[in-house]
Amino acid sequence: MKARIFFLISILLVGGLLWTGLQAVHPFGIPGETPMDDYFIANAQGEAAANNVVTSIVFDYRGFDTLGEGAVLFTAVISVAALFRKRGHN
């Protein structure tokens, strides 16, 4: 009974905080700061010579981020290979 009251109070507390926080979120689909979006849309075709602006961001403007993604995949493959290997020393 005590735990139930504690859970109820904490749910109300966290829910109230989340609800008050959500009131300050700007509406969906309308970005708060647009200079960066405008720059990419205006210059991606000219600078990166790519029609697909999303790909030009992923592979050109933020290529280092994609290198990290590739490294994550590489690490995952290495760990699966290490987990399922058969040969090895005791």
Partner: protein, 164 residues
């Protein structure tokens, strides 16, 4: 895992190639249409999953070698890093091939246009290398997990299908 019936094997043999072609299309057109190296690579890796499920692991492991996929994965990642490092005279991951005139070097008109394959510089190259890496990595994960989940099949026990 035993091979599935003749019907399932025939259908998988046929449609696996369509999956591979679609995945290669998504990789190659990564700088023109939605998708790219990661997505197309995952689609091409479905080819291996299809054949693995349909034919069973023993036959699959006699058909393909894991070394090929290791080579594809390591080669793809090395190509990606070197494509980033080659633009090092400006910045890391500088797009040095774009608008240079050679490979993938055509310029793109500003605004809506039909699009050409020979554009976008290192972006297309990186799409290809990431696609190679994802195909090799996911296929290798499938093969390793299969041989780990059914260890008795590597000892040479005979497999029998449903229809025999």
């Amino acid at each position: 895992m035993n091979p599935l019936s003749v019907v399932a094997r025939t259908v998988c043999n046929l449609f696996a190639w369509f999956l591979a072609v679609f995945g290669i299309y998504v990789i190659i057109h990564g700088h023109l249409t939605p998708g790219g190296g990661f997505q197309g690579g995952a689609v091409v890796a479905t080819f291996m999953a299809f054949l693995l499920v349909a034919h069973g692991g023993k036959k699959m492991q006699s058909w393909v070698k894991k070394d090929i996929f290791t080579l594809m994965e390591c080669g793809g990642l090395t190509l990606f890093i070197s494509a980033g490092l080659l633009g090092m005279s400006n910045t890391f991951f500088y797009n040095f091939l774009a608008k240079a005139g050679g490979l993938f070097g055509s310029a793109v008109p500003i605004g809506p246009n039909p699009g050409a394959l020979n554009t976008s510089g290192t972006i297309a190259l990186m799409n290809l290398s990431v696609g190679l890496e994802v195909v090799g990595g996911l296929s290798m994960i499938l093969l390793y997990m299969f041989s780990g989940a059914h260890p008795e099949e590597s000892l040479g026990r005979e497999e029998a299908g449903h229809d025999r």
